[in-house]
Symmetry: C2
Subunit: 228 residues, 2 copies
């Protein structure tokens, strides 16, 4: 029997929706294409899977190349198979999304490739291929996931104030949440703990600092917020 790869198989791409959060803005990492098709257009960063790679390897390779760092929070999203999605031929795309916190975002400013750019998620340009669809699904997944899984913390630094966490949720979900009720629910979940520390730059320790409680299993984090 011939080896699998001797048969005609579609190309396998891995595409990434990388979200970054800083200064109350949610951004997405976009790549400005140099080559045809869609030369000059915007896409999500991606790469073709090499024979020996896992998806996770490919993600790391993309992130290293474009951001100069990997080891971010990473989650598989969906696999897109529209036969017409790439004009060059049949290509399947396995989409992942990644989350970048402000510190990493700042560091990456120095190591980022010249052909990528952080774009505010409210000012997204048209995207090539079916990348708009991928991006939309990623945002939707992030939004619904942060309601029942402590995933939002991945977008913040290790230590954060309640206000910062609150603003993150309001920003990503694009809705206003009562500050006091949000605090009560988040604290009741016990997924964040006060650190007792005082942040550099602050004169006092009034805005308390919290950190994500990594010892708890994330199974029953539940914010009970109704979208729609």
């Amino acid at each position: 029997m011939k080896p699998f790869h001797a048969y005609k198989n579609p190309a396998l791409a891995v595409d990434l929706a990388v979200f970054g959060y800083s200064d109350n803005e949610l951004s997405v990492l976009l790549l400005n294409r140099r080559d045809e098709p869609f030369a000059g257009g915007w896409t999500l960063p991606g790469a073709f899977l090499q024979m020996e790679e896992t998806f996770s390897d490919t993600c790391s390779r993309i992130l290293q190349t474009k951001l100069g760092m990997d080891k971010l929070y990473l989650e598989q999203l969906y696999t897109f198979d529209d036969p017409g999605r790439d004009p060059r031929g049949r290509a399947i795309s396995v989409a992942y999304y990644a989350l970048v916190n402000p510190a990493t975002l700042q560091v990456s400013a120095g190591t980022m490739a010249h052909d990528v750019k952080w774009m505010n998620h409210k000012k997204m340009p048209p995207l090539a291929f079916d990348h708009r669809e991928i991006y939309k699904m990623a945002l939707q997944r992030l939004r619904s996931k942060m309601l029942y899984f402590p995933v939002g913390f991945e977008l913040l630094d290790d230590e954060f104030t309640m206000t910062e966490l609150h603003e993150l949720y309001e920003c990503v979900l694009d809705m206003s949440l009562d500050r006091r009720n949000f605090r009560r629910k988040i604290l009741a979940s016990e997924y964040i703990l006060p650190t007792g520390a005082k942040r550099e730059g602050l004169q006092n320790r009034h805005p308390e600092l919290y950190s994500f409680n990594k010892k708890l299993k994330p199974s029953n984090f539940q914010l009970n917020i109704n979208l729609s």
Copy 2:
């Protein structure tokens, strides 16, 4: 430039976790393998993607071949990429799950291929490849999805009694749910409506018949049942 398929690409398989429900039992469609590797072992039904096919096409082809019918409820689950998952070489598996209602299940009894069998989900044999993992993820997805999305109805006939729906949920979730509270919540969601009909075989119309309300958008179906 060479066409994509001229490069070395992994094989792309589509594997299906097909759930059937009847007589208060949840079953999974298993295939008894004839060829190596794992000859004689059990697997989920699957097939390699043909160049012109969409995943959905491949699913239909598998279901036609093995069940003699397609057009079931179908949802993409996850794409598995462990390089060692197939001893024959690199193969990616895109997993879907499908739901079959009792009527279809009954019809399929006559059209089913001889090498497949419905297996009670509590009596699953060891599965070849990484199919145990796929099956477990499918069951988990079904369980969590039916709590916030009206997907359970796909496992029942068009018309059903409240008791049947209640038993379905208890069976699939493998937990007991208070009959009266379940009724209250389900009816409050307005996703099922009384049909006013009387079922054949029943002498009276006391156990009321209901049907899924397809006019409602399934976005805010919420049963608020706590797993774990």
